[in-house]
Subunit: 86 residues, 2 copies
């Protein structure tokens, strides 16, 4: 059992209206000094069994296929923790 | 200048319909062995100036006020990297 985290963020070259809205709201609420905000998605996948290299490659394909729109988004896949069984 | 990342995830006790939908879609696409998926948000804040303890506490308040709905979501605030100026 392992937890794999997939972070999906809008590409730097892409306008991020959600992030802009958050930055504006922070400013209006009195939280100044924040130059930029970008908003993306975080997926936590609980993966059964052993996390082999092949398994991780498959999860990367899954992220590319379903979780990120790679035309406008970048994604990273990382292992957060592995639970070993006794 | 520093990048601060705020991760916002649905609380464990809360049903996460987006995550369920993703888990179902992964299964249908042939990506098996994924026991659970939870979907949340990731915010990247580019913060001006020096990142003092007070500044970080202020950003935590900002996350609590604007970025997370603490009734149904948990959040974490962490510093991803700091750019020091020459």
């Amino acid at each position: 059992m392992a937890r794999v985290v997939v972070d999906v963020m809008p590409k730097q070259a892409i306008l991020d209206p959600q992030g802009r809205a958050v930055a504006g709201a922070l400013e209006r609420l009195g939280f100044g000094g924040i130059a930029d905000v970008r908003q993306g998605k975080r997926f936590e996948l609980e993966v059964d069994g052993e996390l082999t290299e092949e398994r991780l490659a498959e999860l990367r394909r899954a992220a590319e296929t379903l979780l990120a729109n790679t035309v406008i988004e970048d994604f990273t896949v990382r292992v957060e923790h592995v639970t070993t069984q006794a």
